[in-house]
């Protein structure tokens, strides 16, 4: 999975010292963890197992990661970077509903299909059981993702209802955008985590259309 990505720094990357780190070992560990998660599940994923599969000493793993959760997190960041990117809008233009729709479809695909979403599912699951994992996920990956996407949804909304939002400033628009994003994502997470199946693209479209209609209705109170 991550074997094709060369090197780029990730979110959890150790800041400064990391002197002569062995890149082969790093990739071998990430791949081994990914493979073993699929093969044996989260509980069957052990540091010893990863070390053995990667042909690496346990100490090497403990030198660079604090736990198996951190290894999976690095994998998640790596995978999501490509899978959850938005296309660059035309210069000077802002994000559109069409782009939002495309992103939601990609998100649903990412969340609902192994092995890509398997890591996120596992981390979300473990976040229910472990405070540290929850914090890592929400101050890191999910936090950044949400911040980025909320802003882009805000742009979509602004493009859709030119007058709205401007009155109360960007802050008000952000709250609206945040609520809208939540409303759009809730059914997807619900589907992925509670029903555990691939997510029907129609569900994405239905949710988006529905929420946009509601948003429009709210923004034109007179009607």
């Amino acid at each position: 999975m991550a074997a094709t990505r060369p090197v780029g720094p990730t979110v959890a990357e150790q800041p400064a010292p990391a002197k002569r780190r062995n890149e082969n070992a790093r990739l071998a560990v990430l791949n081994a963890a990914d493979d073993l998660l699929v093969e044996r599940g989260f509980d069957g994923l052990t540091i010893e197992g990863i070390a053995a599969r990667a042909g690496v000493a346990k100490q090497t793993i403990y030198r660079w990661w604090k736990s198996k959760v951190d290894i999976l997190y690095d994998n998640l960041v790596l995978d999501a970077e490509d899978a959850l990117a938005w296309p660059e809008p035309a210069p000077g233009a802002s994000y559109t509903v069409a782009e939002l729709r495309g992103y939601l479809h990609r998100f649903a695909l990412f969340l609902g299909t192994a092995p890509a979403g398997r890591v996120l599912q596992a981390l979300l699951g473990h976040a229910q059981l472990d405070r540290r994992t929850f914090d890592l996920l929400h101050t890191g990956f999910l936090g950044e993702l949400t911040a980025r996407d909320t802003e882009r949804v805000r742009q979509c909304l602004a493009g859709l209802v030119p007058g709205a939002g401007g009155q109360d400033g960007a802050g008000a628009g952000a709250a609206e955008a945040s609520a809208l994003l939540d409303a759009l994502l809730a059914p997807l997470y619900y589907r992925a985590l509670l029903a555990r199946g691939p997510i029907d693209p129609a569900l994405v479209d239905a949710a988006l259309d529905e929420q946009l209609a509601l948003a429009l209705a709210r923004s034109t109170p007179g009607v």
Copy 2:
């Protein structure tokens, strides 16, 4: 749900006549597991710890439960029996939107606040990590809960839009009810699992009003 069963354990049901089980030991185990889950979290919850806290031999636990998941599951069933009951409707009457609203509020409370919902959160989390747990939860607790609630939501809908549903038979009404229930629960689960906070009652009302409006709009296409 398990409301019809009298008292015994839900998992590991004895096929044979269930010889002389010690009720004190059973309750001590369930309580110890509950306490330890809150104190030490799911990973810190061990069979040895439960046995020690409950003053019970490990073998006694293994005799009646297959794993700590099964112990928590029994706790869940026990707790939910009271917390997630619907009030009995008037004789001859069916469930109403007001009762549905009340139930949703109780559900949100159950899901969002420790210690009651802590067990469900943990099991939902672990279900992401372990196939057996997922199956147990969905063929058991969640399956029964969903079946029961779907039917009651169907009755609410039927009462709300007298003509609708009747045309296509009860089957079509059930599908509609199922979708509505999903739409009502998704934001609650999203809130509880993703944001991990207590659920604002206003969220429940907003979701219900919104979905009812949409349902009404769908059922009167001419308008």
Copy 3:
């Protein structure tokens, strides 16, 4: 093994109370213990195993025996009663060297061959590891056996060297007899316990001839 012996009271038999004791259960336990000792060895012999094999409840065993050692002990007493008997001497006559020789051969056979001697070997082995077993064996079975045989050896000696022993009284003769018995048995136990093979009958004869020669030499100091 003990199945053919009907009922007779043994040494370790509970003295008085034993009211409505089930004789079938008693024999089944003794036989099961014997069989399992041969099949699985002393460490593999468990109360649970005996109970299962005998079709008897554990409690029934604990009611009548204190441990598996006591069960084996009862078996030993039962078996030895026949195998280690001396033929009755002619009325008025005392035991002779020929009878002693015969007894030693029988003893060697008993000690050296399974399954008869297997129990005694096991108890002797366990007596090295457990004080209670040692005491049981020496105040009980071995003590009585030694007392009986010492007296008979004394009679043999008295018949062999008419004058000797009489001078110092029976006590001196008993000490001599005891030493002689030890000297005769030592090589047999050594062979059985240290080399663990069947005992060559020639070894018995050699030891007896040798010791008798020495005894004679000692009793006729002038020569």
Copy 4:
């Protein structure tokens, strides 16, 4: 015996280069086992107990020993190395009866007194109950001891009766020596295992004198 081996464990010899074994842990385990054997007896001696007493992890014990028997065996070898050594004979000279006598006294002391001989007694006892222990003892410790001592006894005999043995070659002398050694040891083992008391030094001398007289008588048939 094991006198030629330098230091390491005797059982569980590492075929590979025996990686960095912790000598402190090894000694702590051996000592703890020794202490606990005396304190609690063989049955009360557990791997968990040894680990706790030695301040060592169970896994460390299982890494280097297969069972508590193997630990005791290592202790036996260690203790016997000093206690059962023969003094080096003068260069060019062979072992003498005086040296044999001294050795037998030391052997009797070793076998009859705790804690040194306690281990051997326990292993001899357990060898009656467990085939593996019997084999370990006889192909290992006892086998080497017997081979060594038989040869030395042969030298004693050869020195005593210059002509004898030479006629029939060393083989015949070895058989004689072996029988003599058995005859000397049998009463000691009998005393130690059957009567379980310290061995009277006079018993050693009596047995040696008696057996030497018999051996001399046999080697000079004319007299």
